[in-house]
Subunit: 91 residues, 2 copies
Amino acid sequence: MNESVFKAMSDATRRKIIELLKEGPKTAGEIADHFTHAQPTISRHLTVLKHANLVVDQREGTFIIYRLNTTILQEWLAWLLEHFGGGDSDE
Amino acid sequence: MNESVFKAMSDATRRKIIELLKEGPKTAGEIADHFTHAQPTISRHLTVLKHANLVVDQREGTFIIYRLNTTILQEWLAWLLEHFGGGDSDE
DNA sequence: TTACTTATTAGCCATTTAGCTATATAATGA
DNA sequence: TCATTATATAGCTAAATGGCTAATAAGTAA
């Protein structure tokens, strides 16, 4: 599993962005509106998520629309379950 | 969900320690033997895991035995599934 | 072209992180 | 008590992180 996904998911702001994008695609501005951070700060979080391939972006006029890459998220969850789920030594 | 668990799990060395402890309790030295890092480095990783309550330690003579706190690990996985699992907007 | 809007990139700073070596602590046994 | 073993803590450094403001880019429309 790609280390960058773990790093991306280890920040509370980025996890909240992921949760927002679960509702559906959103522009960078719509995402930023949910936080008190400065807008460039959110932009950088989006870049981190993009490098982890957890989100994809697409320009639409002056807007940039972000959407969740559900595949990566689900692969990450599957990896976690495989490595850390179940299998208690005294199960 | 406690932020410290995410931070603890975001490091590859610590995840490997967790995987080792899934096999059963181990002393700090046994754990350190699985890595090329210096012993104090592993000791510090164990402290991070301890503060996240992912492991517990118990002195046994000169040894200190670490064991997994499976409850926390499973609660973390459950939280992840609840927040990020399923629920694709186009499912 | 100019002005406006949306968003990113650049550059800075403070804090955290992860590694190391050296030192300290705790338990045991001679 | 002294030595040995197992482990943690202290103190340092380099790199990464996350925040900010200021500047830049990209698109639209007058």
